[in-house]
Assembly symmetry: C2
Homo-oligomer: 199 residues x 2
DNA sequence: TTAAAGTATTTAACACCGTTAAGCAAAGGT
DNA sequence: ACCTTTGCTTAACGGTGTTAAATACTTTAA
């Protein structure tokens, strides 16, 4: 009975439609004005059907958070693949992180709670660790090739992350910063921290 | 007719009660669950009376934002007053900033959009510039006493701010970071940036 | 073919939310 | 005593997330 598969495919299709409709709303009007009823309207259903695919609104947001982290991971790996030297890789990866934050601002806001509350962000799902996993590998390589082989990877990672995430937050919340200034700070910070590793 | 003043005082008293009730709710349950009706319940009135004192909920949040910035400014000035050398002042001020962010976390979240959406944060009210005003003075002094007197104050300020704000955000959103690591990163970042100024 | 079972979808409802307009009751001035 | 103003409440509108009941449709079994 091949119709079983068709039905499953149709069900999957509706789930997909829910996600794309939600995404469209968020892109157009921001996370603030995303509502179950708006999503339902967009896919020409009524609100309760969404609960057949997502337990609640938070589950929907968690789904997006996961996609966001995977999306970011792709960008980071792509940036890394463009270079051979760990220092160059790291630089490119943080610039990719920066670009992701603005090109996919809605993802970034949800992933890191920038003006958006999603849920308790404490290690609930594994994707959250993707950036750390990807970055720490390269940082470790850089440390291994350096003069101070017992440098703490974690500390360096958080130092990088803090500057860049902080700068991103400031730019998103108080829109309209000088781009030249941003780029200067970004470049200085990255090269500065890399220098503290290579020694 | 002295009763006029008493009435004004009573009116002012209600406004105060609204604010303290709202603050209590936020402290206990977070910004997410602050509502006009809850505030009204707490002060034993009905919701619409609040609109006699605040145009809407956003205006109430803006009031808190203002108070938050003034509160922060106090902390910064107090920290500055404890030292004479600009470098020491700056260090103490950023540590005060850090402390404020966690001791008055609800203020901080609202002021800088950490998991909370207040309104368009773009320079709507003057208090937003207080940190910049206070910090830039000290940073300028440090630059004047240094070898590179044409260093950009703005750039240095944003560099400081980015690291510290970023670290704070990460800690608030993903609660449960290592405090030792935080303090290390904080101290390193601050002394590091100061060194880039003094040369 | 038709009755029963199961599934998909909608409608209605609950308990909230911010906000506004209408009503009421007490106080003030004339 | 009447009128006006003020303070406050009730009721309502349109919105939110979410659940239970009712309906329509499809599949299965007799």
């Amino acid at each position: 009975m091949g119709s079983k598969e068709r039905i499953i495919r149709q069900k999957e299709d509706v789930k997909c439609k829910i996600l794309t409709a939600a995404w469209q709303i968020v892109k157009n009007e921001g996370w603030q004005s995303l509502s179950m009823r708006k999503i339902a309207d967009a896919i020409e259903y009524t609100a309760p059907i969404i609960y057949g695919y997502f337990e609640n609104k938070e589950a929907l947001l968690v789904e997006f958070t996961g996609k966001g982290f995977q999306n970011l991971a792709c960008h980071l790996r792509a940036a890394k693949a463009k270079h051979r030297l760990p220092a160059k890789q790291l630089e490119a990866m943080w610039f990719a992180y920066w670009s992701f934050a603005f090109e996919e601002q809605e993802y970034y806001q949800l992933m890191f709670g920038v003006e958006v509350y999603c849920c308790e962000m404490g290690m609930n799902y594994p994707e959250e660790d993707l950036p750390w996993t990807i970055f720490s590998e390269v940082i470790q390589q850089l440390i291994d090739n350096s003069n101070n082989p017992k440098t703490d990877v974690c500390k360096k990672y958080y130092t990088f992350w803090s500057v860049i995430h902080g700068l991103i937050c400031i730019n998103i919340v108080r829109k309209g910063q000088s781009d030249e200034l941003n780029q200067e700070i970004l470049k200085d910070a990255i090269t500065g921290i890399i220098r503290t590793i290579t020694g």
